[in-house]
């Protein structure tokens, strides 16, 4: 009996030891898999985009009537042909004066709509416009580099139609140091006090090393057929004070400056078509003002007010510290199109988020994807309205996908 007891005791202990082979960890495999997901690939895309040409508005009472270059008569034409350090001007228009200094051209336009056909190449030249009359610049294979400031600078407040001649490649580049004129702004390689409307079926490449790429103190409209690429190592790629409307076109923007935005609209922004790829590679900008530290994160797309997406393709990528795919200060509504925002940056100073919206967010149609490697993929301060009828609705810790 005693032996039996002893052996029983020994066997019991042995059994309990043998049975202790389970792990007591929480099963995290599925959860970790959600955090290890890789984002969609976003890269500059110069491929052709099949677009339906927009139909110019013919109703003169329509507020957008004057945005269509087709709605003006362009029988006043001046040709500007750059050739290294020289420039040839052909054609005269009453009320338009043209002054040249080497390849730097200054034009005072007091006439009606005038078309300036620009071609040729210069590495030390520029175009500067004065006068409150709308006008057209037809870029017909022009390459303008201004080491001292903007390549094209419009000080007039009326519409500037930048038309890219079919099949042409055009290039604008600013310099690292801008020579400023009192009481005149000069904010980008292509700068206009008035609105800029891009059209045509050519290509425009803007290189910004001193300030921004393309900037309007009014609004910017981009029409189908246009191909615009901006590479800015300094400030924002494309920026407008009073709004940006993308009706179409292929737009590629790359920025690498600290705190720079790929595209920034300080007014209402609307996307109706086209394809925008904006990549922001910069880190946070840190400023010390009177002993107060202020940090500004980069964003591929930054909207100071409302953003409506009705169609088109938006691909946004931020890779710098705290960089946002999209940073919207007010409401965002997606009614169609394809929207992808990815943030892969570090979070040393700011949190990198795929989409950050300070207002409300609504989606009723289209495709919405957002990813953040090191923070929230979607951060909405206001309300979120997701219409029913979606085919995909995945809310993960790193990725959110909503598709209709």
């Amino acid at each position: 009996m005693k032996k039996f007891l002893r052996y029983s005791l020994f066997l019991s202990a042995l059994t309990l030891v043998m049975a202790s082979c389970q792990k007591d960890d929480t099963d995290m495999a599925d959860i970790i898999a959600q955090y290890q997901v890789e984002p969609v690939n976003i890269e500059l895309d110069y491929s052709e985009l099949t677009e339906t040409p927009d139909v110019p508005v013919t109703d003169e009472s329509d507020s957008t009537y004057n945005d269509y270059v087709e709605n003006s008569a362009w029988n006043k034409v001046i040709n500007i042909n750059f050739d290294g350090g020289n420039v040839a001007i052909a054609g005269t228009v009453p009320g338009v004066s043209v002054q040249t200094n080497g390849a730097h051209v200054t034009i005072m336009n007091m006439s009606g709509p005038v078309k300036f056909i620009v071609s040729g190449k210069t590495t030390d030249g520029s175009l500067k416009f004065y006068g409150d009359k709308r006008f057209q610049i037809l870029l017909n294979g022009a390459e303008i580099t201004n080491p001292h400031g903007a390549a094209i600078n419009n000080q007039g407040s009326k519409s500037l139609y930048v038309v890219l001649a079919d099949g042409t490649a055009n290039r604008l580049q600013d310099g690292t140091n801008y020579t400023m004129v009192d009481e005149e702004d000069q904010k980008a390689a292509l700068f206009s006090e008035g609105q800029i409307i891009f059209s045509g079926k050519g290509e425009l490449s803007v290189i910004a090393v001193g300030r921004g790429g393309i900037r309007s103190d009014d609004y910017i409209r981009i029409r189908p057929g246009v191909k615009i690429s901006v590479n800015s190592s300094a400030l924002d790629g494309l920026r407008a004070n009073d709004g940006i409307i993308i009706d179409g076109g292929v737009i590629n923007i790359m920025t690498s400056g600290v705190g720079a935005k790929g595209m920034r609209s300080e007014g209402f922004m609307q996307v109706n078509g086209g394809r925008l790829v904006a990549i922001s590679k910069g880190d946070c900008r840190i400023e010390n003002t009177d002993g107060v530290m202020d940090t500004t994160a980069c964003a591929a797309l930054y909207c100071d007010t409302l953003l409506n997406v009705n169609g088109g393709i938006l691909k946004l990528l931020a890779t710098g510290d705290g960089g946002k795919g999209m940073n919207a200060k007010q409401d965002v509504a997606i009614y169609g199109g394809k929207f992808e925002a990815v943030a892969t940056g570090t979070r040393e100073i700011k949190k990198p988020k795929g989409v950050k919206i300070d207002g409300n967010f609504a989606i009723t149609d289209g495709y919405f994807y957002t990813y953040s490697r090191r923070s929230d993929p979607l951060d909405v301060s206001g309300s979120t309205m997701i219409a029913t009828g979606y085919k995909t609705y995945d809310l993960g810790p790193k990725v959110i996908t909503i598709a209709y």
């Binding site: 005693k2 002893r6 005791l9 020994f10 019991s12 202990a13 309990l16 030891v17 049975a19 202790s20 082979c21 389970q22 792990k23 007591d24 960890d25 929480t26 995290m28 959860i31 970790i32 955090y35 290890q36 997901v37 979070r347 490697r373 090191r374 923070s375 810790p397 790193k398």
Partner: protein, 251 residues
């Protein structure tokens, strides 16, 4: 008659101890096993030494918690006072650690459980006093445990990736005070015992209560079966209830 009274007294004391512990139990408490094998040798009337290996489990007997091997040397300074010193190598299965962000909802870091080493040194003084067949003893033990640094896996949910994390080397001093009573019941092969032990660092870290019986066979073999309740002073560590089984071979 006296013998019956003694048995009643012992049973009563054990029941009192158990009833004092039960209100502290909760569903969060853990259970496990302590199984040990020891060999000890008496070199003289005063000097003895022992080697012990021990296994512990947790998670209600389902998960290995610790394996250890160690030895000690004891010397009887006085008939009622024993001094001892020992070393134990501990191989611990450290529990997982999951931390959350400030919102208490989003994950921050997850460190899975891992095996790690610790070195433990101790010196003790034990004073004994016999009242009839009950031996009371008080042991004061200073214990120093050193955990060497170790690189382990950690999943950082912010980064979304596994990274190497260093558990830094750390030493810890603990004073363990144990009060024990052992009964030598005449003509009974089973000797009950009970003790209470306090682990103190700067504060009281844990309290252990043990009740059990030992059984000797031909003075060479000793078996022990006991229940140990450990009340933790920290919310990070659950209270636990251990079933202890021990065998000692004396030569």
């Amino acid at each position: 008659m006296a013998r019956r009274k003694r048995k009643q007294l012992i049973t009563g004391l054990l029941l009192l101890l158990c009833s004092a512990l039960f209100p502290t139990l909760s569903h969060a408490d853990d259970g496990g096993l302590i199984a040990s094998i020891e060999a000890s040798h008496k070199f003289s009337k005063k000097l003895s030494a022992g080697l012990e290996t021990e296994f512990r489990s947790r998670n209600n007997f389902r998960t290995a918690d610790r394996v250890s091997i160690g030895g000690d040397v004891s010397y009887k300074v006085l008939p009622w006072l024993k001094a001892s010193a020992g070393y134990t190598l501990l191989i611990d299965n450290n529990r997982e650690k999951l931390t959350y962000q400030d919102d208490d909802v989003s994950y921050n870091n997850w460190r899975p459980s891992y095996w790690g080493l610790r070195h433990r040194f101790n010196v003790s003084l034990t004073a004994s006093y016999k009242i009839r067949r009950v031996e009371l003893s008080l042991r004061e033990r200073w214990q120093y445990t050193y955990r060497p640094s170790k690189i382990i896996d950690n999943f950082d949910f912010d980064e979304g990736e596994w990274e190497d994390d260093e558990v830094k080397g750390k030493g810890k001093n603990v004073l363990r005070s144990r009060l024990q009573a052992e009964w030598d019941i005449p003509k009974c092969k089973f000797d009950p015992f009970a003790n209470v032990e306090f682990h103190t660092t700067r504060d009281l870290e844990k309290t252990r209560f043990i009740v059990g019986v030992s059984h000797s066979l031909k003075k060479k073999h000793n078996f022990k079966l006991y229940y140990r309740c450990q009340l933790s002073g920290s919310s990070d560590e659950p209270n636990n209830h251990m079933l202890g089984m021990g065998y000692t071979y004396k030569f």
